[in-house]
């Protein structure tokens, strides 16, 4: 009952005219950013974050804006996946598998509308999950002390290594780089300058906005330089524009199942939408068996990843709001946004800033409705944006990135640092290091060190406090399990490989 009251309070916040306007704007921008190949939710949130800050938006409005962009990207990613066979963001890779064949069979309109509805169902189910579980978890999380937090963050990083799968060492390295970048600047407890190389501009640490924009926008520009694929024709959306009742019934349970699975995966710290959509696609394919036409235009193969990636986007807000530990790269950026406002996300957020939390949750419902309404009739407009040529798009992204970084401190040093980090990020991406792990590490860095040192201050330097309580022990066990996953998978694969060989 209490939750319902808070939710009503949240709707009060979210339906204020400015917040509605901001949600509408964010949904639109998010869809556009999501559908442009190469630009994903992190880019969208990173580009708008400095703007929101410079405009002096109150924290709840800024967060609503960013959440709307985040959701919008998950909606937008499918448009280019279906019409162009190019995923608009990483999570939409699975959507191309069945979406593009459908479009080529002249069912683009059906695919687009059905995937919009799947996205909607996924988000709404997951948002209900947030409403139900977030307050519970927040209450429980109050019991977390510094030692528990420290171990929780280690668990989050281990999750990344365990779930991203094929390159655990590189993922962990990237996370460590992020943690190390966060140590630059004055040490908050002792005032010692660390890794500043005598530069005044670095004494404050590296600004979060610079890291995000450098690593994601600038490196993206350099990557786009390589694939100047031009003249790829988008499939024209023709034929029936809306799916019929039978098609909806066929996919309904797929949507629900995928939404629940996506939500659960999203709540795990570190594991994001990409994994959720891949896992649900695979399990739906297995469930359909031989009757499914997965891979050449099965509607269920379209509905499953779309419902799952939206659900996991919403689910990843849970660890962010209740524990202050991001569930995905994009929520890591949102945590950075909150810290710009001097709000520390964590269990106390629910008590101290109910407007922010519940306003955000309520705005998820509103944002989804806006996106659904926007996405069915306006799909023609959005798909036309796919034809914006790179020689207009890239300069625009560049300028907005520069303005975003410049608006924080107004120094040229920051701009140069951004370009430098961008080049570094480009090299890392060429070498196959996942940058979202790096951002996660960077956001967690300061909290992690603070909590470690606070815990050890409490115990007077005794390391036992790090594995003294049942919570820490459980978290350590989970961490070990996560770290063992890649090895286990490798072992199973090899054994299966041997079995096949033995049969042959």
């Amino acid at each position: 009952m209490e939750t319902l009251n808070f939710l009503m309070q949240g709707f009060d916040v979210a339906t204020r005219p400015t917040n509605l306007l901001v949600a509408l704007f964010g949904a639109f921008v998010g869809t556009v950013v999501g559908l442009l190949p190469g630009l994903g939710p992190i880019n969208g949130v990173a580009l708008l974050l400095p703007l929101a800050f410079a405009l002096g938006l109150p924290p709840e409005t800024a967060l609503i804006l960013l959440a709307a962009v985040y959701l919008g990207c998950e909606y937008g990613g499918r448009i280019s996946a279906i019409l162009l066979n190019v995923p608009g963001d990483a999570a939409a890779v699975m959507t191309t598998l069945d979406g593009y064949p459908l479009a080529r069979q002249g069912k683009a309109g059906i695919a687009l509308s059905l995937s919009a509805v799947s996205s909607f169902v996924g988000s709404i189910i997951a948002t209900c999950g947030v409403v139900l579980f977030a307050p519970l978890l927040a209450k429980w999380a109050v019991a977390f002390g510094p030692a528990e937090y420290f171990v929780l963050m280690i668990f989050a990083i281990a999750c990344l290594g365990g779930m991203v799968g094929d390159k655990p060492v590189k993922t962990l390295m990237a996370a460590l780089m992020g943690l190390a970048l966060a140590t630059v600047g004055v040490d908050s407890t002792t005032g010692v300058y660390r890794f500043t190389f005598g530069s005044v501009s670095l004494s404050d640490g590296i600004q979060f906005v610079i890291v995000v924009i450098g690593f994601f926008s600038v490196s993206e520009i350099l990557l786009m330089l390589e694939k100047t694929h031009s003249g790829q024709k988008a499939v024209k959306a023709s034929g029936r524009l809306l799916f019929n009742f039978k098609e909806f019934c066929l996919t309904f349970w797929t949507m629900v199942r995928s939404a629940v699975a996506g939500f659960v995966i999203g709540t795990l710290p570190g594991a994001g939408a990409t994994i959720a959509s891949a896992m649900t696609y695979m399990s739906e394919k297995r469930m359909a068996g031989d009757k499914g036409r997965f891979g050449d235009g099965d509607l269920r193969g379209l509905a499953a990843p779309e419902a799952a990636n939206n659900a996991s986007a919403c689910g990843s807000l849970i660890p962010m709001l209740t524990l202050g530990v991001p569930g995905s790269g994009t929520t890591a950026v949102m945590i950075g946004a909150l810290t710009l406002y001097n709000i520390t996300p964590g269990p106390l957020l629910f008590e101290q800033q109910p407007d922010v939390v519940w306003g955000l949750i309520a705005s998820l419902f509103i944002g989804n409705v806006i996106l659904l309404i926007m996405n069915i009739p306006l799909v023609g407009l959005f798909s036309r944006m796919l034809s914006v040529p790179n020689w207009v798009l890239v300069p625009t992204i560049t300028v907005i990135s520069m303005v975003g970084v410049y608006s924080v401190h107004s120094t040229v040093f920051d701009l140069v640092l951004m370009v430098g980090l961008g080049v570094f990020g480009y090299l890392l991406r060429k070498l196959d290091f996942p940058l979202s792990a790096l951002i996660l590490g960077f956001v967690l860095g300061e909290m992690m060190e603070d909590n470690l040192r606070r815990a050890l201050s409490i115990s007077n330097g005794e390391l036992g406090i790090l594995y003294g309580s049942p919570i820490t022990l459980a978290l350590w066990a989970l961490t070990v399990a996560m770290l063992a996953m890649p090895g286990l998978r490798w072992y199973l694969k090899r054994r299966r490989g041997n079995a096949v060989e033995a049969q042959a």
Binding site: K170, R194, F195, V394, P395, L415
Partner: protein, 147 residues
């Protein structure tokens, strides 16, 4: 191959940074850990990872070095750096117009469309940010016109 080179460089960087980090001493002990242990721990773990990659660089076989691509990437980085450095000196409008033009050409735009899109970007975005959104941007050279 590239991963190995990177891992070697990173290993050296870790060693260098560790030497630097060794000097972080607080004049007075505020907490039992101090400012030195945590960065050293991170550097040590990173060095372990780099050493692992040095001996087992997995992933796809390295693609051949593409001269033309690399050249374009270097040009793009130079354009971005020049843009960053000239941002305050030339002012937002002029530097943006130039950068928009250069990047437009680099991304296979034709000459005149790139000129026009660069100029439009400079003027329109200045209007958008400075007047509508209240984000102050440097005027640079154009300030001379004002006085």
């Amino acid at each position: 191959m590239y991963v190995r080179v990177f891992a070697a460089v990173w290993l050296l960087a870790c060693a260098g940074l560790a030497l630097l980090a060794w000097g972080f001493e607080a004049p007075f002990a505020y907490d039992p850990v101090g400012p030195r242990a945590y960065p050293l721990l991170l550097l040590f773990l990173m060095a372990c990872g780099a050493a692992w990659l040095l001996f087992k660089p997995h992933g796809e076989p390295t693609p051949a070095f593409d001269r033309a691509k690399a050249q374009r990437a270097v040009l793009c980085v130079l354009a971005l750096l020049a843009y960053a450095l000239l941002f305050e000196i030339l002012g937002f409008v002029i530097s943006t117009a130039l950068a928009g033009f250069a990047l437009g050409l680099l991304f296979n735009g034709r000459l005149w469309p790139s000129v026009i899109s660069g100029a439009l970007l400079g003027v329109l975005l200045y209007g958008l940010f400075d007047y509508l959104l209240d984000v102050p941007l440097p005027l640079g050279l154009l300030r001379l016109l004002e006085s």
